[in-house]
Symmetry: C2
């Protein structure tokens, strides 16, 4: 009943007004809040999954690999199960030989923010966002079609990828950003004991770079755990690049510093490409 | 005629509709654009400064230390000069013994973004933003009053600081964010040669953390040059923190990783404090 699961429930209900959304959560408060906010209509427990038509699994990725096979154990033959995890290899592996593997679609909707919990869920969150689907060939075509119709109806852009490639690329464009942001926040908090100085001197640039440091440790620790090897690679490269920048600064090689920044300015066109893609949808 | 200088000109004109804004820029195109956009009414050259009532110096900080003393050389006795540089110690030092030191106010409006040039200038940019004023006691009280009335009228919050403290703190809450962002952009661009992967997989988190990597190298190289020693300190601490995080990951110490993130979550309250402060204005 968090940002992603809650937002999917709102959109599913929006498209299928006659459907009932059932919520399962370890937190009773989150379930109450989800009912209050109209995200779900009913609370449910694990055993109720045997009656579900659609199951959206939006929980920390370490729990996914435990819970997903158990869900496939209990669901109906015509039920479809989707996950939304930020890692894909271990999740896919957890059900690779499951007799109901074909009822499952491995997905990663790139729609997370630094917020969590039911109050962060919102209708329309997925409009223009990318949904990365892994091992699509392992999902039965009837379920593929159902899921893709839903993703299309809520405005998502689909990209197919194998789980290994997903985990490798996402480490660069998402997981690394979170480490960079958390450690930046840490560096500033440690130094600036007098928070007044941070309040007054921090501009929008600081806010933007540390925004992700508000993210949930319960969600992110398991991601780093599952994607350890793929995360270590960009993290080492990032540290190397920072060390090189530091050495250029120590050696007062300002021409090289200028060149580093100028070459990286190309990110402008890349970010514009992202927006262009979204606008086309 | 960039973001800061242009925005000040728009606000000055807004408050004093009878005043004429004159622009000086090394780029003739920027001057033409500034006239077209109504930022200035007339182009001017250095010699015209002898007639100016107000001078706002918004140029790269390495040029400031050359140009500022020359401006004080030519201005009228009742003219006021403000700078907007992101470093303060060397700028203040460049005019410390100038006979017209009292006509100058050293300021740093914390209102920059990743954009530059006249098209980025906007009316109302400074509403709710902090303006750090250094060595206020060295500015004649009449000029202090004039400048503070203006800053108040355009919605700025004033903070007084000595130049050394300014340069030290701003290295943490601004300069470090820029390096972090540039090197993050570099790391991803180097690896993801196929930009399609960045377009499709990058979410709002990546955009937020690399936004500052769009910033102008011509503006930022001189800032890093002038504030080298103060920038190296947080940069070293940041690299140390990243190395520690990397080691925790290598050693699979996920409890410690959780704790690191949880402690840094305190940035939420700090950022809320920033917003609260802005809303009170």
């Amino acid at each position: 009943m968090g940002l992603i699961g809650g937002s999917f429930a709102l959109d599913l209900k929006g498209i299928n007004p006659e459907a009932t959304m059932y919520g399962i959560d370890t937190s009773e408060d989150h379930l109450d809040k989800a009912i209050e906010l109209g995200i779900i209509q009913e609370k449910a427990v694990f055993e109720d999954l045997a009656q579900a038509d659609w199951v959206i699994l939006a929980i920390p990725v370490d729990k996914m690999v435990e819970v997903l096979p158990r869900i496939l154990d209990v669901i109906k033959d015509d039920a479809i199960v989707l996950d939304v995890g930020s890692t894909k290899e271990q999740i896919c592996k957890s059900v690779e030989n499951h007799p109901k593997r074909r009822n499952f679609m491995a997905a990663h909707p790139i729609a997370g923010t630094e917020f969590s919990g039911p109050t962060s869920a919102q209708r329309g969150l997925f409009i223009g966002k990318t949904n990365i689907i892994c091992e699509v060939e392992k999902t039965a075509s009837g379920f593929q079609q159902k899921a893709l119709e839903f993703f299309d109806a809520i405005g998502m852009h689909i990209r197919y990828m194998d789980p290994k490639s997903h985990d490798k690329h996402i480490a660069y464009v998402s997981h690394l950003s979170h480490i960079s942001s958390f450690m930046l926040g840490k560096t500033v908090i440690e130094k600036e004991k007098n928070e007044r100085d941070i309040f007054d001197m921090a501009g929008s640039g600081f806010e933007s770079t540390v925004r992700l440091a508000k993210s949930s440790p319960s969600m992110w620790t398991p991601i780093f755990k599952q994607n350890k090897d793929e995360v270590l690679q960009p993290l080492r490269e990032y540290i190397d690049n920072l060390n090189r920048f530091k050495e250029l600064l120590e050696n007062e090689d300002f021409e090289a510093i200028y060149a580093e920044m100028q070459q990286t300015n190309r990110i402008k066109e890349i970010l514009e490409g992202i927006h262009l893609k979204k606008m086309k949808l």
